[in-house]
């Protein structure tokens, strides 16, 4: 794990509150929920090459934070820096830079792939639009990517509907990798999968991370998994980041009461099934 002075990704006082921008009423009355912030002003740094786990319960804001970093959501306040450049804005150069450098893998394998597009076509499109390979080499690279994630070349010609959950997640990973990113935001990527498949995908991620020297933001509610895969961990609750530190440190000696409560609620980590190395 490198110890660069400058963090690869930095989040400064980023917050997000839904409904803040003026929205016109289009004839339907809006539900009268108060505008609670999904994310309170939060700061975080991701170091190059590390795997940073982000844990918390549903609604804790971890997905929102991940979205802000990945460019899927525009923060209400604060800045997201990537490689020393502010990338909040949704247009132009910063957007393209960030798209190349930071990619997302979503939780649900059933909604994260376009049902009307064939797998190979999606990957090829990325390569072509971002000019990652000259035209002649695009298809070869597509097959290469599929192989990287453990899929056969035949899978390039199918639509997601024909694939299992685990296979779809592999495609999702391939899609993210196609950009040759530096940072990958893995948002609950194994939560929707069966236990055995979970292990396979996690192993795949670990291997890819090593091979490609990726920086991973691993969002999860599963402490056992985080403990296994991550170097550092951040704990979130109700839109706030309450504790950050090395994963072993935090899980063995939690300082924040919420972290303690979280750990208490989980069955003993040592007793959990350990997937085989891979």
């Amino acid at each position: 794990m490198s110890d660069d002075a400058a963090p690869l990704v930095e989040v400064r006082a980023v917050s997000l509150t839904y409904g803040r921008s003026p929205r016109r009423l289009t004839g339907r009355l809006r539900p009268s929920t108060p505008n609670a912030p999904a994310l309170r002003p939060t700061s975080l740094q991701l170091r190059a090459g590390e795997c940073f786990g982000l844990v918390g319960e549903s609604g804790s804001g971890k997905t929102t934070l991940g979205n802000c970093i990945a460019g899927l959501a525009r923060p209400t306040t604060g800045e997201v820096w990537y490689r020393g450049v502010v990338v909040n804005s949704a247009h132009g150069r910063p957007r393209l830079t960030r798209a190349r450098g930071v990619q997302v893998i979503f939780q649900s394998p059933y909604t994260s792939l376009n049902p009307r597009r064939k797998v190979g076509s999606v990957l090829a499109e990325i390569l072509r639009v971002h000019k990652l390979r000259p035209r002649e080499q695009v298809w070869a690279r597509v097959l290469e990517l599929l192989e990287e994630v453990g899929l056969a070349p035949e899978h390039a010609d199918v639509r997601p509907g024909r694939l299992s959950g685990g296979q779809r997640q592999r495609v999702a990973i391939a899609r993210a990798l196609a950009f040759e990113p530096e940072v990958v935001v893995a948002d609950e990527v194994v939560s929707a999968l069966d236990a055995s498949v979970q292990a396979q995908i996690l192993n795949l991620l670990a291997r890819l991370r090593d091979e490609l020297n990726l920086t991973v933001l691993f969002i999860s509610h599963d402490l056992a998994v985080v403990r296994q895969t991550c170097d550092r961990v951040g704990v979130m609750t109700r839109g706030e980041l309450v504790e950050v530190g090395d994963v072993d440190e935090v899980l063995a000696r939690p300082r924040h009461p919420y972290t303690r409560a979280l750990l208490d609620a989980v069955p003993r980590l040592d007793a959990g099934a350990t997937p085989s190395d891979g």
Partner: protein, 292 residues
């Protein structure tokens, strides 16, 4: 562009294009098979039939006016001595072209507007929504008649009228689909991929959003046919001497009690074509409703 609507709450599964446009196996879906075959036959008759029969549709023969159906003139002749069979066949070309043309226009414009309104939301969506509400407040035929009336009768006016009004149903459908697709992860992934908006729209959004409108279009063909024929029947659409079924029925109306064949056969042609379109529309709708 039809205004006849079923309550959509009653039939609403998720659609896949493969369900809708999969190859036809006759024995599994007899009605759809019949409909498609019938339509193909009609198209052939309309476009190739006159050539085969050989008689001209415009040649006036004052020695043979108003003759009842016979071996020489299976559909009889009209008041100018023109052979009704060939006239009916030739008219079919125009009616079919109008039906498909009207649906195509409404589908294209409606899908485009629906996509833009659904995607961008905000005031644009609000405005489009209001326009749709207002357009729907008029009976469709009345609106078309009024616009044709202001512009002057003719096929061109008919198309302009539909151009202005027919997109509404498709826009509403498409907008609904877009609202669903917008929240899906794969669309957000497409946006986060740094693709241009045009690419996201056309290559990612459109394929998902266009299925419902296409299904609706298949049911809409019959209404488009009847619309074109009705407007022409009222004298506001296709003008004589161009043969068109609705207009031919109008011309034959005054003779209905005596020379019944003048109005009967063109009307029958509409019915048969309408049946073909109905079967196709129902067949495709059935595929989406219960089929796999």
């Amino acid at each position: 562009m039809s205004t006849l609507q079923v309550d959509r709450r009653m039939t609403r599964p998720r659609l896949r294009l493969a369900t809708v446009i999969r190859p036809l196996r006759g024995h599994e879906e007899p009605l759809l098979w019949i409909g498609v075959t019938l339509l193909v036959v009609i198209v052939l008759i309309a476009f190739v039939g006159p050539i085969i029969v050989g008689t001209s549709s415009t040649a006036q023969n004052y020695n043979a006016i108003l003759q009842a159906p016979s071996a020489a003139h299976p559909f009889g002749t009209d008041q100018y001595g023109r052979d009704m069979l060939v006239r009916t066949m030739v008219a079919g070309r125009l009616d079919l072209a109008i039906a498909f043309g009207l649906v195509a226009i409404s589908l294209t414009i409606g899908t485009a507007i629906g996509m833009v309104a659904g995607w961008f939301g905000g005031w644009l969506d609000g405005v489009v929504g209001r326009v749709i509400d207002v357009a729907l407040a008029f009976p469709f035929l009345v609106l078309v008649i009024a616009i044709v009336g202001v512009r002057g009768p003719g096929v061109g006016s008919l198309f302009v009228a539909v151009w202005f009004t027919g997109w509404v149903f498709y826009a509403r459908l498409t907008r609904g689909e877009v609202l669903v697709a917008r929240g899906q992860d794969y669309m957000r992934a497409a946006v986060a991929s740094g693709f241009s908006r045009r690419r996201v729209f056309v290559r990612h959004l459109l394929p998902n959003v266009v299925i419902q409108p296409l299904v609706y279009a298949s049911s809409d063909l019959v209404y488009a046919l009847l619309l074109g024929a009705s407007v022409s029947f009222l004298g506001l659409g296709v003008q004589p001497p161009t043969p068109e079924w609705g207009q031919m029925v109008f011309e034959g109306a005054t003779f209905i009690t005596t020379q019944w064949w003048l109005a009967f056969f063109p009307g029958m042609a509409i019915v048969v074509t309408g049946v073909a379109f109905s079967l196709i529309g129902d067949g495709i709708a059935d595929r989406t409703r219960g089929g796999r």
